[in-house]
């Protein structure tokens, strides 16, 4: 199972039109991801890493190319099914946390389980478990305004992992955090990967983050320039 590719990307392109100029954010990218990998997608600003992650997270659509998860062509899924797929199979951690300000940490997490059809009690207990996993078991009822940047990001991680997704995507999860807090967040991700074989794809531009990952894909001008597996 471990050797079987989970995600297959073939010749993926994403072009944007800004006025009369066509920006080639991704210009023919192909790679595979196996279950249990912790991948860092790196590259300079404008290299296409965030675009790539958004497509992988089904938040955006490629202009061309194939994208399958467990042999399911997810690109052509109708919007409603994509939404359901995001809810049940994928987890996404945004750079700016993307929490609902009027919901407590617990509510931000358990709303997804509720959406999945779990009972309120079950949803609350799942949410509690996820928040404890990221070290926020004592801050369940705090709203985002009452949390530090690192804590907010950990709530976002808890929200993404509570439903036990097949793949967890993280878009520069430490961009707004200091080194110490960044380490805490990355530690959480590494533990998930190590202890629960959670597949993680993370976009980062910080070289020191690579010590937590098992593979590095480097992008430049919308193309993969290196794909390196690390011995862990």
């Amino acid at each position: 199972m471990k050797d079987k590719p989970m995600i297959k990307i073939k010749n993926m392109k994403r072009y944007y039109k800004t006025g009369s100029v066509i920006v080639k954010a991704l210009n023919g990218v192909s790679f595979e991801i196996k279950q249990g990998e912790f991948i860092a997608i790196m590259g300079a600003s404008g290299s296409g890493k965030t675009t790539m992650l958004r497509i992988l997270g089904l938040l955006d659509k490629p202009t061309k190319g194939e994208y399958t998860i467990n042999n399911l062509n997810v690109v052509d899924l109708p919007e409603e099914e994509k939404g359901y797929y995001r809810l049940t199979q994928l987890g996404y951690v945004f750079q700016d946390y993307a929490l609902i300000n009027e919901m407590s940490a617990e509510e931000n997490v358990y709303i997804l389980s509720l959406m999945e059809g779990k009972s309120k009690q079950e949803s609350i207990s799942t949410s509690k478990e996820a928040l404890e996993k990221v070290g926020l078991g004592d801050k369940l009822n705090r709203v985002p305004d009452q949390l530090s940047g690192g804590e907010k990001q950990r709530v976002a991680v808890a929200r993404a992992i509570a439903k036990k997704p097949k793949i967890l995507f993280a878009d520069e999860p430490c961009a707004n955090l200091d080194t110490h807090t960044s380490e805490q967040v990355l530690e959480v991700l590494r533990n998930l990967n190590k202890n629960f074989r959670q597949t993680i794809v993370m976009v980062t531009h910080e070289p020191w983050h690579t010590k937590y990952v098992s593979r590095i894909i480097k992008l430049k001008d919308g193309l993969i320039v290196s794909d390196k597996k690390l011995r862990k």
Binding site: L87, Y92, K120
Partner: protein, 401 residues
């Protein structure tokens, strides 16, 4: 669907619980004013119309027959009554004898119009029997008894504006001097309160009393008042009365009111209808704008919810809940404000021509209609923009484009 409702409810409650209270207060205040705008003016106009209609019904019923120009009385009134009562569509008819008189109690004297009525017949004709606030209405044998209007009695609403009979009460004896100089003493059997001057400044005695005082025979009347089953066909009933051989002038209540009052009522009615619809449209537009702005301010939140997999259905339901909550609070605040205004204007009525007061009429049907309209508008106003935003591209919604 059930999951959508559960998630929509959670999202709505947390938004309401932890949202900006000042914004909530402002929205509720504006919605309360919208509600007031829908119901207050029609209530005032309703009061005005009610006053005018009420006045005409006491004096003229639906149709009134009066003496011809050169006669002070309708002669053969019983004969006329017989003809009128035989006409299909006529439910009740009675004769009345009116006379001018002064009423004295101790040292206080007031001028008044005394109406001679047949008490048992008035139950089907006017509201006189039903507006007795103290004592009882006249009976068939009430020959030495009188009903006096509330504004002639000290302490009653409006009595301070006019000359009144001081501390006269039920059981007191008053002297009535008729226009021909005959003086009769009556025991006050009741006090009537119709809330408008043209009733509350009058007095009622038995028909036979006026007949005796003026030495009239049994077939005289100053008016014959008629009630019909369907007030929409008054003109047809009037034609039938004339066709039955009644030679005295016959008027519908509408015709009896003078042209100015008739036009005034028609204009007021038109203003009322226009005002109701304009208020409704303005109210609906305002609700839509308020909720729309609210939804646009939360565009990013909608984008986030969609991005993490919350269905558009539950997002729409959440905003429907939120806007229904806003509008329910607005309606509640509006109702409190409305009843306070009604109370204020009932205690301090709008007065014009010095003696005509308008007491607003609480229009239950309109209030219920307005509540439902606002709730329906709230659902549309909440769901429409939320539905639009929920259909937008996730990234654009998050970026707020």
């Amino acid at each position: 669907m059930f999951n959508d409702i559960k998630v929509g409810f959670l999202s709505a409650t947390s938004s309401i619980k932890r949202g900006n209270k000042k914004t909530l207060g402002f929205i509720v205040f504006v919605l309360a004013l919208i509600f007031i705008n829908l119901v207050f003016l029609p209530s005032m106009i309703g009061g005005l119309m009610g006053m005018m209609t009420g006045f005409m019904q006491y004096s003229y019923g639906d149709i009134v027959i009066e003496p011809s120009m050169d006669n002070a009385y309708i002669n053969n009134a019983d004969n006329v009554l017989q003809k009128v009562r035989a006409i299909p569509g006529v439910t009740f008819a009675t004769k009345r004898l009116d006379a001018g008189a002064s009423i004295q109690y101790k040292q206080k004297v007031v001028g008044s119009s005394i109406k001679g009525i047949l008490p048992s017949e008035e139950h089907g004709i006017s509201n006189y029997p039903f507006i007795i606030s103290e004592g009882e209405f006249l009976g068939g044998l009430s020959r030495a008894e009188i009903i006096i209007g509330a504004m002639l009695v000290e302490g009653y609403f409006g009595s301070e504006i006019y000359d009144n009979l001081g501390g006269v009460r039920v059981g007191s004896h008053v002297d009535v001097t008729y226009s021909n100089g005959v003086v009769r003493t009556y025991k006050v059997k009741g006090i009537m309160e119709g809330t408008f001057e043209l009733v509350d400044l009058n007095a009622l005695v038995h028909y036979k009393e006026i007949e005796d005082v003026f030495g009239l025979d049994e077939s005289k009347a100053t008016s014959i008042v008629v009630r019909v089953r369907n007030p929409d066909v008054l003109a047809k009933v009037k034609e039938k009365i004339i066709a039955a051989g009644v030679n005295e002038p016959v008027f519908t209540a509408d015709e009896k009111s003078d042209a100015l009052m008739r036009q005034a009522m028609q204009s007021i009615d038109l203003i009322n209808v226009v005002s109701k619809y304009v208020s409704l449209i303005v109210g609906a537009a305002l609700i839509l704008i308020i909720i729309y702005i609210n939804v646009l301010n939360r565009k990013k939140e909608i984008g986030i919810l969609k991005a993490v997999g919350i269905s558009p259905g539950s997002i729409v339901i959440s905003y429907a809940f939120i806007s229904m909550f806003y509008v329910s609070l607005g309606v509640l605040a509006g109702l409190v404000l409305y009843f306070l205004l009604m109370f204020y204007f009932t205690v301090n009525p709008v007065t014009f021509y010095e003696n005509i007061t308008i007491i607003p009429e609480i229009q239950g049907e309109l209030v219920i209609q307005s509540i439902f309209t606002m709730l329906i508008m709230s659902v549309i106003a909440g769901t429409l923009p939320a539905w639009r935003v929920s259909k937008e591209n996730i990234l654009e919604a998050i970026w707020g484009r």
